[in-house]
């Protein structure tokens, strides 16, 4: 089977996967013990329940509800919020909340990649030295720490930063709060970079500073993973036959490391980096709640707490799409960089 046919097969598989995933969500929300209508208006209001049931289409037979649920979502008709922002289309809510989560996610991936991979490669190139042990052990412990715990510790340390670290985090570079949503307004006027440079960069730095601790926590597990995988991958390639051959041919050490070792060591890191999407979406709830970043995870959590089940269904659909897209991206990258794919 050629590589691209293998990739195409994987992509086609994602269609039934998405549909089955959404079916599970439908079953939990519609067939679970909670009546979405009663959850919205409260148990003591029978007429209200009847009215909402009518509006939500819960009076129809189940198969019709199912088809409607699927068709609505697949055509991106995401419905509206019923409790937390009554009448607001879910689409608008997601557009308001998503940018903060994306901003947070981008930085947590970046921090993890920029710190984790070089540390892992360093440890792999200098195995069994003090630096290796320190980095390896640090990575293992760092990975085992629960996000929510790391988050509250970090908040506590930063709020006492003057006494503990010798500088005040809140007034460092630009004035920000510690637990605060980032203000991303500057993105709407990119021309500000040219017309009002200093104010614009200040806003950028403030937004970055607002999510930096949260991004560090959210990326912690992936950072540890990337370090470990990077280390073993480098160790494995550096002891492989083709590196021996290159060395015997007299290829300079620099070229061996950069051309033959690092490039191949990156292959096993691909699923770790794409797998971060899972950690980010799962962790976003906890981290956004602790750091008061009102992004999608926070919206999801509030929607669930207030029994806004139609909104919960729509947000979950978006999350499923993101995860499925990440899976496709991972297969795409694999197909692109690893010629062994499809020959198993």
């Amino acid at each position: 089977m050629s590589r691209w046919r293998y990739f195409l097969k994987r992509v086609l598989l994602m269609v039934p996967v998405t549909i089955t995933g959404m079916t599970i969500v439908f079953v939990v929300i519609r067939l679970g013990p909670i009546d979405p209508a009663a959850a919205i208006v409260g148990m003591n209001n029978p007429e209200g329940i009847a009215r909402i049931r009518e509006q939500l289409g819960l009076t129809q037979p189940l198969w019709q509800q199912y088809i409607e649920f699927m068709v609505d979502l697949l055509t991106f008709d995401l419905g509206q919020s019923w409790v937390i922002a009554r009448g607001t289309p879910a689409y608008d809510l997601i557009l308001i909340y998503a940018p903060r989560t994306i901003w947070l996610g981008v930085w947590s991936v970046l921090i993890a990649v920029v710190v984790g991979i070089p540390l892992g490669f360093y440890a792999g190139l200098n195995p069994n030295t003090g630096g290796d042990y320190f980095a390896s052990f640090g990575g293992i412990v760092w990975r085992a720490m629960p996000n929510f715990w790391l988050a509250i510790i970090l908040v506590a340390v930063l709020s006492q930063s003057q006494e503990l670290l010798g500088f005040s985090w809140e007034s460092w570079i630009v004035e920000t709060d510690i637990v605060t949503p980032p203000d991303l307004a500057f993105f709407t006027e990119p021309m500000g970079l040219l017309t009002n440079t200093s104010a614009w960069t200040n806003e950028l730095i403030a937004a970055l500073k607002a999510v930096a601790p949260a991004a560090l926590v959210l990326g912690s597990a992936s950072m540890g993973n990337e370090m470990r995988i990077g280390r073993t991958a480098v160790l494995e390639t550096i002891n492989s036959n083709y590196v021996e051959t290159a060395r015997a041919k007299g290829v300079p050490e620099r070229a061996i490391v950069w051309k033959h070792v690092f490039r191949n060591a990156l292959i096993p890191l691909v699923p770790i980096i794409t797998g971060e999407a899972f950690l980010l979406i799962g962790g976003s709830v906890v981290v956004e709640v602790v750091f008061a970043i009102n992004g999608l995870g926070y919206l999801f959590y509030t929607a669930i707490q207030n029994a806004d089940l139609p909104l919960v269904g729509s947000i979950t659909f978006i999350f499923i799409l993101v995860l499925v897209a990440t899976n496709i991206l991972q297969d795409f990258l694999y197909t692109l960089i690893d010629p062994r794919i499809g020959y198993e």
């Binding site: 599970i24 715990w149 340390v157 995870g297």
Partner: protein, 495 residues
């Protein structure tokens, strides 16, 4: 491997014995080591017999409580109280630490020791007891190898040998055993009982030395707790390794409610362990059956399982767990034992794809072997082939990933409880105290959040190290195939 005289003997035995002498026959031929070992086991069981019976009855009571109509509850409760009467070596009755100071000396504590030392002695003995058990099991295995096993060498010996040189895996094993003991012996290692201190503090009177009246007074644990709270102010804080005003020793300090943190954590370890092990048994069982079926039949069965597992994995795990705990709030799944059954069901549903993915490769490799073909042509039934010829090779891989995923489950349970979902009060759970201590992290009451967090990190690291150790023991060449393991370890979904 063993001394030469042993070798000669065992070879002699082998020649003497026919090919297939059953184990009982081999023991009958040389009964001494087996008898000595069995006597040792009986002794070890005997000193803790009461506690063992108590644990069994408690488990039966919990199971009976899940069934409708609560059958035999009275009978079991009666049996449990009888079991509690049997004297056990490692109990608070034998080595009490809950005495009071009468102005001159400690009364009612073990040998009149300070409560701190009495408690520490009990904990040390509990752990010593466990390690004696471990050493005795190891000795039993060695005796079995030298005296009773018919073959001189099996591949397992190499695995054991590799594990013997694997310090990191041994560290993991010690941490895992330490955690298991902490949970299993919760009533013995905690300075007070959960019933008296956490569930029903006002139903329990105790005596203490009152400084104001300079005499021995009586109060209930509930009242005393209210005056032993840790609220981050120097006057209102009972830190680690300190006594409160009532002469009660708190190894880890107290909670914001004045309850004992160590007791709370020991009982909290029980629920983490219960959920973790049940999830791994459930998910591991499903994954093993599916791995067998997909590897044996391939084709459509495999495609259907790939589809199902990919679908489950496309759902955001932690978010779906949050959704499930809210949707099923108030049902019997949620109201039993703080909601543990619900979490077990949810986690099993989300973890089997990880475990199945992990053993799918090894299972396919085994299914390709010639001996499977031979067994087929011999006319063996598929179920027998799977059980006898395939499962033994796959099960050790399962153990690796189960150990790595268990840490993820523990973190996820704690994360859900941290958010106020998951395990509901009054059942102790580590994540919930971390939330309770959140306002006090940078205050004198730092212990409330910090100690449980460090413990979670340690336990998760221990399970990871243990998994690494088994992996290297099973397959020393597998150093590079870590990606699946890392994904499984991170399967906590970012809790």
């Amino acid at each position: 491997m063993s001394t030469s005289s042993n070798d000669v003997e065992s070879i002699g035995n082998e020649i003497e014995d026919a090919e297939d002498v059953p184990l009982t026959g081999r023991i009958a031929a040389r009964p001494r080591p087996a008898t000595v070992w069995l006597v040792g086991v009986l002794l070890l069981v005997a000193v803790e017999f009461g506690a063992l019976l108590g644990l069994i009855f408690e488990l039966l009571l919990t199971i009976a409580g899940l069934l409708p109509g609560d059958p035999a509850a009275g009978l079991l409760a009666g049996a449990a109280s009888v079991a509690a009467e049997i004297p056990t070596l490692l109990s608070r009755e034998t080595i009490p630490n809950g005495g009071y100071f009468d102005g001159g000396a400690w009364v009612n504590t073990f040998l009149g020791l300070e409560p701190m030392y009495a408690w520490a002695l009990r904990v040390v003995l509990v752990y010593a007891y466990t390690f004696v058990w471990l050493a005795w099991l190891w000795r039993g295995y060695q005796w079995f190898r030298t005296h009773y096993r018919q073959v001189d060498w099996t591949p397992r010996d190499d695995m054991v040998g590799r594990l013997q040189g694997h310090r990191w895996g041994q560290f993991g094993l010690i941490v895992v055993v330490g955690f298991l003991v902490f949970a299993l012996f919760a009533p013995a290692v905690s300075p007070v009982t959960a019933q008296d201190n956490i569930y029903n503090p006002y139903g329990n009177q105790f005596q203490y030395y009152s400084e104001t009246t300079d005499s021995v007074a009586q109060t209930s644990a509930g009242v005393a707790n209210l005056q032993s709270t840790s609220k981050g102010i120097p006057g209102q804080n009972v830190g680690p390794l300190s006594y409160d005003d009532f002469g009660r020793f708190h190894p880890f300090g107290t909670l914001t409610t004045g309850k004992d943190l160590f007791t709370y954590m020991a009982y909290g370890a029980r629920i983490s362990l219960l959920i973790g092990l049940s999830t791994m048994l459930g998910a591991g069982g499903i994954a093993l059956v599916l791995a067998m079926v997909t590897a044996y039949y391939k084709g459509l069965a495999d495609l259907a399982t790939v589809l199902a597992s990919d679908s489950v994995q496309s759902l955001p795990f932690l978010l779906m767990a949050i959704l499930a705990t809210v949707i099923f709030r108030g049902t019997w799944l949620d109201s039993t034992y703080g909601g543990a059954p619900l979490l077990i069901v949810v986690f099993t549903f989300f973890y089997w794809p990880f475990l199945w993915r992990a053993v799918r490769g090894p299972a396919f490799q085994i299914a390709e072997q010639e001996w499977i073909d031979a067994a087929k042509s011999y006319g063996q039934k598929p179920s027998v082939i799977m059980r006898k010829h395939m499962i033994p090779y796959v099960v050790s891989y399962m153990l690796i990933y189960a150990s790595l995923s268990l840490g993820g489950v523990i973190i996820a349970v704690a994360a859900l409880s941290f958010l106020g979902l998951g395990i509901s009060p009054p059942t102790p759970e580590w994540g919930r105290i971390i939330a309770a201590g959140q306002p006090y992290v940078a205050s004198p009451s730092w212990h409330i959040s910090l100690i449980p967090g460090i413990m979670i990190t340690l336990v998760v690291t221990g399970f990871n190290a243990f998994g690494d150790g088994i992996r290297d023991a099973i397959d020393p060449q597998s150093g590079g195939s870590e990606d699946g393991a890392a994904a499984a370890a991170a399967g906590g979904g970012g809790g």
